[in-house]
Amino acid sequence: MIADIQLVGGNFNLAPYQSAFGCVARLARLNQVRRVTEYSQLLGIKPNKNINLFSTLTASQLQQKALSTALGIETPSEWDPAVWYPFRVDDARLPSYFGLRYCLACIRLGYHTMLHQLPWISTCPWHGVRLRMRCPRCSRYPVTAAGAPTKLLACACGLDLMNESASALQRHAHPNAATYLQAYLNWCAEQRRTNQLIVTPGVHVDPVRTLSLVDLPPALALRQAKRVREAKRYRLATRLDQESPPRGIDATRHVSHLDLHDDSNPALNHIDQNAAKDARLGRSGQAFGHQGGRDAGARNRSSADGWSSYAAARPGGRYRVVHPNYLNFVDELVAKWNHSSPQQMSKRCNGGLDPRVRLAVLAQGYAEGIFISEHEVNLSTLPERYRSPSPIALLCTSHPSELRIAFG
């Protein structure tokens, strides 16, 4: 490794599984790299002045390649955000934060890993401190741009998040860091074989929303922030290899808005029937609690007809339009499911999955109170959440197949 001798901080054993940005930040600070020209001469990368170096290095394979070439190493696999996800995803940038998220204790030594960017990780696994995105003193964002007057990882208020001397004097990596990270990456690799993240096509997805879909295994479980714990309540988990929905349900209509003219629609009738059996806790209750009855205690119990935990109460005829984003999302979801397991599709569901999935999604969206809206004419007057909803789903094709959906 060239960097080991030619650059201070080039011993990467002290920074296991560091991110590309973490690598650059540590090297830049310890070698006093400030100007854009110096980044080019010492680290091989050519960042634009005042452009967020974190997002550039996370997203650009070209920059990663330039960096690894300059350092005389193979591009580490951990620089690819996709290896940090326990699911496959079409756009690797989607599920992580775009801005730098850090652990105060780690960043003091100039250490940053992609693990800290993941929405479903809210505390540093080995230090136990809350992950932050802003300066602890002034709440501004720390500098992540090359060529800025302030050093990387410092704040304009004067607070320097990194202690260069402490970083240079670091003798060992944190004893638990490499172990945890290796175990986490192994788990992710295992999960990616069967799990796929599905997002609403053409709609911006807030990465924070993915946190409700991912459950860490007991061996990797952390003391998570309240926000993460509560997010788990806002998701639907349904088993896809159970029975088909009742006959007569037509949830496959392809229209720009799905008009629900009256209560005779079999899909909505079915939702009503299951509402009291498997109502979820959380937002659905807040939205419709005053109008529909529900049985909170039945959450984890299978309903009589084999459906599980998607239903909610219906507010009684006021909502009449399905947002096109939901229809697009359902189409995407069904397409991904067909693509990922065509054999299961034909064997187990015999064509019945399509309406099943559609119904499950529609039902949950209905429970959320956001996809069926009486504001048919002018969506632009609605708040963002209602104007452009973007549900996401985690499709698991292992046995039993499971679909987790987060609405928003």
């Binding site: 650059l7 006093q32 001469q41 240079a168 003798r171």
Partner: protein, 334 residues
């Protein structure tokens, strides 16, 4: 596998041959260890060109038995920038340490980078003291020493302390090197010029101060290393002398026993060259001399029984002994 085939793989045939532990090296290690133990800030190693100062420093860098406590070790070669300035000096230091340098960094940034490199070495070696060996230190000017003092000042109050080991060639300039110690102001003299060690080649005579601990001269003891200590393979192997001269070795012949014969031929060469018989043997020549004796003259031949005067002359010729000595004497104005 035949004896010849085995010898072809012998370390003496490698591009980088094993170093011989010599007394000049041990004397230098002893003085360095004493300086470190007493908390001195620097030591100047002064010696003729090609006598083995740099090699000795490299050996000390890779061995630990001589160290009074754990130390870090950085080694660099200083150049002479065309435009002397603080920035250019620190840039030379960075390049000398084998690190990458940029063209636009300020002197402050360069200085900080050197400080971080020293701290990093301290952490790597789990040591509080980092020896910074500066080769070709004869090129340093008083301003350069002032820059080094500035670097050292940054560590005041720090747990990490740099220790400067200057490798100074005494005959780098024909007629004698400029002695900066006479011109150095007290704050520089006290830091960098107080302690010095004269590094010699292998001495032909036993120094008076070592008479009670040394039973033979440096040359004989170096040859004894080949006879008794250096083995291949390291564990359970034959000594170098035994490997290359098996028959002679079995009859009791040893390289060390040829010391006086070799000295005689060396003095003969000095007489022919009309320069005084040298008091020591430069390592650059001695290593090649030994290489030629073992691999070309003895060479594993069973009929080899000992060295003739002709053999020694041939080895001296191949090792460029006369050339090195002529150069040294010319520099000293002899």
């Amino acid at each position: 596998m035949g004896a010849t085939t085995i010898l072809q793989n012998h370390p003496m045939h490698a591009r980088h041959r094993p170093n011989i532990q010599t007394l000049p090296l041990l004397r230098m290690a002893s003085d360095l260890a004493t300086c470190l133990e007493y908390g001195r800030p620097s030591l100047r190693i002064i010696g003729d060109g090609r006598c083995g100062k740099s090699t000795a420093t490299r050996i000390l860098e890779t061995t630990t038995s001589w160290r009074p406590f754990p130390i870090g070790f950085l080694r660099m070669v200083v150049g002479k920038p065309t435009t002397p300035s603080e920035g250019n000096f620190f840039r030379e230091v960075i390049l000398g340490l084998g690190m990458r340098a940029t063209t636009v960094a300020t002197p402050q940034d360069l200085l900080l980078r050197i400080i971080r490199a020293i701290e990093q070495e301290s952490a790597r070696a789990a040591a509080d003291v980092v020896v910074i060996a500066i080769d070709t230190a004869e090129q340093l000017t008083l301003k350069d020493y002032a820059h080094l003092a500035k670097l050292q000042n940054h560590f005041l109050g720090s747990s990490v302390q740099p220790f400067f080991l200057f490798i100074h060639q005494s005959n780098s300039v024909i007629g004698g090197a400029d002695d900066l110690s006479q011109l150095a102001p007290p704050h520089l003299y006290g830091r960098f010029f107080v302690d010095s060690h004269v590094f010699t080649g292998l001495l032909w005579d036993i120094p008076k101060e070592d008479a009670d601990i040394q039973d033979a001269c440096d040359v004989a003891l170096a040859l004894r290393q080949l006879d008794q200590v250096m083995k291949w393979p390291d564990e359970g192997g034959r000594t170098y002398t035994e490997a290359f001269a098996p028959y002679a070795y079995s009859t009791g012949w040893r390289l060390e026993k040829e010391t006086e014969a070799i000295r005689e031929r060396v003095e003969n060469l000095a007489n022919q060259g009309s320069y005084p018989a040298p008091k020591d043997w430069l390592m650059a020549s001695f290593n090649q001399f030994v290489y030629h004796l073992l691999t070309k003259i003895a060479a594993g031949r069973n009929e080899f029984e000992g060295l003739s005067a002709q053999n020694i002359d041939e080895a001296l010729l191949r090792s460029a002994y006369a050339g090195f000595e002529n150069s040294r004497n010319r520099a000293a104005g002899k």
